[in-house]
């Protein structure tokens, strides 16, 4: 990262009110963008994160170009790919010109397309859940902080209540009930219902952290002079919240979001890992870990690519979060 001293433009962290030699009016957003572009780690992370999202979106395209799909059991249909114990015959987990990332043990599916589709499943769920969590968290946190009093008290206790729920256990306990409510006992549970249920659970039990954080921020902000001034001039609460408070909350919101998304990706993976959540044959990143952790004694290659992808993704996203925060608020730079 560049040090603040090398960034001549960064003079203040608030409105660019100080006129300099060539007077250019820049919004905080533009300023942030200029700072961000100079942060090499941030840019690299951003490229990686974008790459993951692209891969997720373009999974069917990749599968088509590559000529394999994630559900076909190549190893079972072609003799000679798996040995009698179900492991790939070729070295390095069956990596070959035909199967670039190798073959899945016992089922003999293609690891590359499994991974790409698995990322797609996990990212889709995590991204939607993150969005919902952040919106809910902001709404409830700011409301509680701004209104205070009884509203704050009850919302606070409600948050406490939800925080006391163990996420994974609740999921394990509630999903069968949900499924039996919506699905006929003679029909398969549709994958979209599983996805929606997962998102709902991640959402309902995931927004409290950000709400608490913002409530605290708003509590301190609302006593500041500029808010008081707005109130004196007769601004409506809605205007105060959106125009006075929210712009000052972007930093925590963005940082929380960038931390939450990889956390939810791992949470989703964790749920699949313990055997709930998404089931076969829908490809899933977390399930690949669960299997990989089992197979590594005999086929370590199988966990290599999903593991590497997950680490790269989580690290990149966290670094991106750091950089975005730094760009918004250079004072916090190390």
């Amino acid at each position: 990262m560049t040090s603040p001293a090398q960034s001549p433009v960064v003079a203040t962290d608030m409105e660019p009110v100080v006129p300099t030699a060539d007077l250019v009016g820049r919004s905080p957003g533009q300023l942030m963008w200029r700072r961000f572009k100079r942060d090499r780690a941030g840019v690299v992370s951003a490229v990686i994160v974008v790459f993951f999202f692209l891969v997720a979106i373009a999974a069917p395209l990749i599968s088509k170009l590559y000529g394999k799909n994630p559900t076909e059991t190549y190893g079972l249909d072609d003799n000679g790919l798996l040995n009698q114990f179900g492991y790939p015959v070729a070295p390095n987990g069956g990596i070959s010109g035909r199967f670039w990332f190798g073959l899945e043990p016992t089922l003999g599916r293609d690891v590359l397309t499994q991974l790409v589709y698995g990322i797609r499943t996990s990212l889709l769920i995590a991204a939607i859940a993150t969005l919902l969590c952040v919106v809910t968290g902001v709404l409830i946190g700011v409301t509680a902080g701004y209104l205070g009093g009884r509203t704050d008290y009850f919302l606070g206790r409600f948050i406490d209540l939800l925080l006391a729920f163990p996420q994974q256990l609740s999921f394990v306990a509630f999903t069968p009930v949900v499924y039996s409510m919506f699905v006929s006992p003679e029909k398969e549970t549709p994958t979209y219902l599983r996805v929606i249920t997962l998102i709902l659970v991640l959402w309902v039990l995931g927004w409290m952290g950000i709400a608490r954080l913002l409530r605290g921020q708003v509590l301190s902000l609302r006593e500041r002079e500029f808010v008081e001034a707005a109130r004196v001039t007769g601004a409506s609460p809605w205007r105060i919240i959106t125009k006075e408070l929210l712009p000052n909350l972007w930093t925590p919101i963005l940082v929380q979001t960038t931390l939450m998304l990889p956390a939810l990706v791992t949470a989703e993976a964790g749920l699949s890992f313990i055997g709930v959540g998404i089931v076969e044959p829908t490809p899933d990143w977390g399930r690949m870990f669960a299997n990989g952790a089992k197979y590594y004694e005999s086929d370590i290659t199988y966990i290599f690519f999903p593991g590497l992808a997950m680490i790269v993704f989580v690290v990149a996203f966290n670094l991106l979060g750091d950089s975005v925060r730094d760009a918004f608020d250079p004072r916090t730079k190390r």
Partner: protein
């Protein structure tokens, strides 16, 4: 033993941790390589043919037990087990791990004597022989041996055996086998009415049912003839219990021993130690030896954990073994490729047979059931459950471990282990049921999820539409046990309680037993099958009945198709290099600890 032990495997929780650790270790290894090892490294593959089973005589029933070569006294054996034992009370024991465990401290009227080649003889254990029958097989008389003693030195009498059987009528004795009680006092659970509180209120069964004329004689008066009584009396609950040591439910944690070992220290759910029972007399026991000083059993060892430790063969694990933990499927190759394990492992056929049941209340068209049977990819299913060392292709409804077994193959599974979609499709077409929806239920475990992938794929290739229902594995048995369940096909495993087919055909395919929780999972109710069952059950000679059972099993499979057999389970056991005398127990399907010694 009737329901096979749950094969759920380890689950891990540290996703990121595992991923991190593994990425650090490079990807250079891996690659299964070619064939791997050959199958059984044990002393022979013919252990389960029917000629290996016989009834022993009085001489066979006399102790001491034969000693393996090189056996000597002393030492401690470390036993690694995954699941804690639910019961030590012999009256409550039915599952493989506890059946093996009770061999050390509990004796039954009869028992299984197993020689080095795996031949099984039913011999007298507490009794002098396998019993003498009269009244056309309805009355069975057993005489107790001289010199039998409890762990406190007091003699074992016929009254102790009476107490042991009568307490099975008490309401808390729910988990054990019920053969003897039902034969004496009535089908189902109606036998409990004969002695509602067991012997605890001073009441006893009348001598017209269970007679103990003196200290040495026990006489059973069954309601019907039962030729296989010597097998039923080998179950762990048909033995002696000392009345003033009987603590009812608490007996589960502190059984009073009459075998070569007694409970030393028991931390429920954590560990269990057996120490020598000094009052056990080897001259009375044809089955058991008492070589080692101590067995130290600890629980909570997943299959990978126990396999890794036994393979490493270090420290106390050198004298380590497991009653029931198999070699983890993902480590099978590693173990087979390690030549040092050759003399300390076996791969043997268990009595458990896995089938996919067809719910005959819902799949009424036999052509649809036949199509399902043809389409079922048994070979691919075996690959998912652990491959060549975990299962052996099954072609008919009897396990090869059952007396009378013949390798008949009505659905051509040997030739096409992965199913015959063309034939299945043709049958469906003939029935006009193309695109037939099949509700396929499976227990939601990682292995069964993978099995569901291959089954769904195979059925869809044959022209079915599959609705998969994953069922929480904790409620799985109850869900499929419901007589009015809404599923079409589901897997079950069943092991014969003794190697006679009556313990398979009767509970699984007798239509008169259909009820919630009963084991006729396919709901087959064919009057000609039912009458055949009655006819063969009445044959007084077990050996003569065996081929008849096989014929009936084939008739059921070809004429009714209530299920398709998939595989017979194999047990792959590994133990430490410091142990000798470990052998296979073909009836219980696991390692036999009764002759184990420390080298």
């Amino acid at each position: 033993m009737s329901r096979s032990v749950n094969r759920r495997r380890a689950r891990y929780t540290a996703v990121a941790l595992a991923a991190g650790a593994l990425v650090l270790s490079a990807c250079s290894s891996g690659g299964g390589g070619g064939g791997g090892g050959k199958q059984s490294a044990g002393p022979g593959e013919d252990k389960n043919v029917s000629s290996n089973y016989s009834l022993g005589n009085k001489d066979d029933s006399t102790g001491p037990a034969p000693q393996p070569a090189g056996a000597k006294k002393g030492g401690t054996v470390t036993v690694l087990q995954r699941d804690a034992f639910h019961h030590l009370d012999p009256g409550q024991i039915y599952y493989g791990d506890m059946l093996i465990n009770q061999l050390l401290y509990n004796r039954s009227l009869t028992g299984y004597k197993i020689d080095e080649k795996g031949h099984v003889k039913v011999v007298g254990d507490l009794a002098t022989d396998t019993g003498t029958s009269s009244d056309g097989g309805k009355t069975w008389k057993f005489t107790l041996k001289d010199g039998l003693k409890w762990q406190d030195g007091s003699p074992i009498t016929a009254q102790d055996v009476r107490w042991g059987i009568e307490r099975l009528y008490a309401s808390f004795e729910t988990d054990g086998p019920q053969y003897i009680q039902q034969w004496l006092s009535g089908e189902g659970t109606s036998y409990r009415k004969a002695l509602p509180d067991g012997p605890y209120n001073g009441k006893h069964l009348p001598s017209s049912v269970l007679d103990t004329p003196d200290d040495k004689t026990v006489i059973f008066h069954f309601q019907k003839p039962h030729a296989d009584a010597p097998f039923a009396t080998a179950m762990p609950n048909v033995g002696a219990i000392k009345a003033d040591k009987d603590t009812k439910q608490k007996y589960d944690n502190a059984p009073f021993a009459d075998g070569p070992y007694k409970v030393g220290d028991y931390k429920v759910g954590k560990s269990l130690t057996f120490v020598r029972n000094e009052n056990w007399d080897p001259r009375t026991d044809p089955l058991r030896n008492q070589f080692v000083d101590k067995f130290e059993i600890s629980f909570g060892h997943q299959f990978t954990d126990s396999t890794r430790r036994l393979l490493a063969d270090q420290g106390a694990d050198k004298n380590g073994m497991s009653w029931t933990n198999a070699v983890a499927p993902e480590m099978v190759e590693k173990v087979l490729n390690d030549s040092s394990t050759k003399s300390r492992r076996f791969i043997e056929l268990q009595p458990y047979l896995d089938v996919i049941n067809f719910n005959m209340d819902r799949l009424k068209d036999i052509r649809v059931r036949k199509a399902l049977a043809y389409a079922m990819p048994s070979g691919q299913i075996i690959q998912q459950i652990g491959g060549a060392t975990a299962g052996q292709l099954a072609t008919n409804l009897l396990s090869p471990s059952v007396d009378g077994y013949q390798p008949s193959d009505p659905f051509g599974k040997k030739a096409k282990p992965n199913g015959d979609p063309e034939k299945a499709r043709a049958l469906l077409k003939e029935a006009g049921k193309e695109g037939q929806e099949i509700v396929y239920a499976y227990a939601n475990t990682d292995v069964q999820q993978k099995v569901s992938v291959v089954i769904t794929q195979a059925l869809e290739r044959a022209g079915f539409k599959v609705q998969k229902k994953e069922i929480d594995s904790n409620v799985w048995e109850n869900s499929i046990g419901e007589a009015k369940n809404k599923f079409d096909i589901y897997r079950t495993g069943w092991g014969a309680d003794w190697p006679v087919a009556s313990t398979v055909i009767e509970p699984l395919y007798d239509g008169r037993t259909i009820s919630d929780g009963a084991s006729n999972y396919a709901h087959l109710n064919d009057s000609s099958v039912n009458s055949e069952i009655d006819r063969i059950s009445a044959i007084p000679d077990v050996k003569k009945a065996a081929p008849e059972w096989m014929k009936l099993a084939d008739k059921i499979l070809t004429d009714d198709v209530p299920a398709v057999p998939t595989y017979a389970n194999l047990q792959f056991a590994l133990w430490g290099s410091g142990l000798g005398g470990v052998k296979y127990h073909p009836v219980y399907g696991y390692a036999d600890p009764t002759s184990v010694f420390v080298k």
